[in-house]
Amino acid sequence: LTDLERRQDRSPVPSGWDYAPAPEARDIVTLEERYGLYIGGELVEPRSGEYFRTLDPSREEPLAEVAQSGKEDVDLAVRAARDAFENGWSDISPAERAKYLFRIARILQERSREFAVLESLNGGKPIRESRDVDLPLTAAHFFYYAGWADKLEYAFPNRRPKPIGVAGQIIPWNFPLLMLAWKVAPALAAGNTVVLKPAETTPLSALLFADVLRQAELPPGVVNIITGDGRTGAELVKNEGVDKIAFTGSTEVGKAIQRELAGTGKKLTLELGGKAANIIFDDAALDQAVEGIVNGIYFNQGHVCCAGSRLLVQESIYEPVIEKLKQRLRTLRVGDPLDKNTDVGAINSREQLDKIKELVASGEEEGAEIYQPPCRLPEKGYWFVPTVFTNVAQSYRVAQEEIFGPVLSVLTFRTPDEAVEKANNTPYGLSAGVWTEKGSRILSIAQRLRAGVIWANTYNRFDPTSPFGGYKESGFGREGGLHGLEPYLDFDDSETRGE
């Protein structure tokens, strides 16, 4: 019986359960030491001769050098795009255009692990998200718009849709590849050519995408990729050969672009910041609503323009919601973006981290109560603990300004009218969330919210068939869905108007 006794003597379960590291292998990605520009179907050295380093934000280690495009480089890229537009791309049959888009979509699917790892390396986002969200959606966007390419006449009956020409596209660093897809896929489907500028801090997936274009045998010059900082973007906006600018990024830069383009006749769509209200009514399914709150603000470290950064909770359920939320925060796993169990990764850049810290400090100063779960952060790299502010007044900066980080501000309301009033009381109008078991309330509240995207009993869900875009200072124009084609088309409806 000694053996038996020993078995019974086993000490009870240890107090915790440490998951062993589960890193995704990064050797699937082969990085060059230095990247040029993708112009006219070739990788070329920048005329500017300048390069800058791009980092792995989770380790603060350089990954590669990329080119800083100057005016001359932008000119070259735009000329290549113009050439491609006039000498072939706008004339080939729409079904042929679709074929290229389908090819790109399939290649992206085949190489999705490689792209997911690179996206996490260069951007800091958890591999779980780049693998399960960014990459599937990226491929889905190309598949979706491939389907429209030869059906434009049916999409816009009697309006004679025609491509615009050369589209200059400037994308942000929060979803580098997905934003590329949102921009490039509809532009090509509509028959345009493209000059794309990826964000300064996350250029690598766009440069790898150039290899996908090579594989897909896309004619040279149809898509050109130029890297650089804000100066490159400004050159692209100013360039006279560009017919349309599509920008996703901060409201501040968006306003500057709009001023620059005023009177030029260039078309413009802007997808800018947000300060979305996520409204929880007292009859909501609470545990799932708490998941929605977490997904709304901590998804992608809160680097999401449509993040549910203002939580509006009905006062009667304030305590249980906050208690559940704090509990849930304690289970979030912050750390190595390449670990398959990581929920919250690294902040994208030092600059962004400083901005988050500055706003969080202002929240504490103004009198909000801060909660941060106990959390071991890596020593190197840019990190910020998931944060909740309670006791927030509508006038605090943390309730007004876009933080673009894992920071939630909690406000309360008593009645549906008050919820709508508070939700709309912001210069932004990109998105909102409504949580209630009552269908009629979802409809009535959604009608009164001034936001481009409204989620009911879910949050941060995207689909290529669904248009996305803002009201007020969150921008104009829609991406995704049928609506997403319109900004890339000119219409000749004179006949139908009887002119």
């Binding site: 078995r7 019974q8 249980p320 169990n341």
Partner: protein, 312 residues
Amino acid sequence: MAKAPALPTGFELPLEPRIPRIGSVDQVAVEERAATLARRSIKREAKLFALDLAVRIMDLTTLEGQDTPGKIAALASKAIRPDPSDPGIPSVAALCVYPNLVPAALEKVKGSSVKVASVATAFPSGQSPTHIKVAEVRDVVEMGADEVDMVIDRGAFLSGRYAKVYDEIVQVKEASGKAHLKVILEVGELGTYDNVRRASLLAMAAGADFIKTSTGKLPAAATLPVTLVMLEAIRDVYQETGRKVGMKPAGGIRQAKQAVQYLVQLYETLGAEWLTPDLYRIGASTLLNDVLMQIRKEKTGSYQSPDYFTID
């Protein structure tokens, strides 16, 4: 959860002991959350920890018309010493049998840590008069069963007679005496997550020590989302009253990988405190060998033939 709002009318629940807001469950979101948790990647020492725990929390079960004392004897020695070639493997938590086999089971597990659980209350349908169910429970407790697994009256529940369900659990609890009471909701017959949540709260309010998903007699048995719904109800009761109620998913858990997923879900919902056979069990008849096989694989680095593991 200090201020639980009043209960909706038409829902007969006693106010003492207090139970949390009944609320509701969003099907899409709860299934998504369960799926996300199931994708955790558990490796090496963390996996070994989970597999070892899976053995210690297992209710090794046989509930067949053809069960005999001989079968029970074989299962009992497996329960005590699951892998005779590896003394590091712990005993399972309990042996779960029909009432008639309780004496045989008790006899065989004597001197070990393995408990004997008996199903009762007209298992699996529960479609018998209450006094017969209560009498059955008295009998198995008298025979010496450590734990009683009862079924709720789904007929009463689905026709809205919640008080009948409640009263019956109260009576069974009383009849169980010192034996631990596990209340089987038979989630496969409840139809919605909302019903699973209500039945969970009802059972806990009536005095259940454990709530359990299924009898194992239906094709629709334990699933990750349904177990998550029950864990969240347990968490709410704990928040509200400080009482810790145990959880037992049963039916359909046949692979070690699934067991690890259930434990991850438990750990990330209720925390490390619940990682004990006192508060969590997995009811299974064929899971054990797969777990043993995985443990040996983790320890030796290679898979071995199933013939090296006894079929009992």
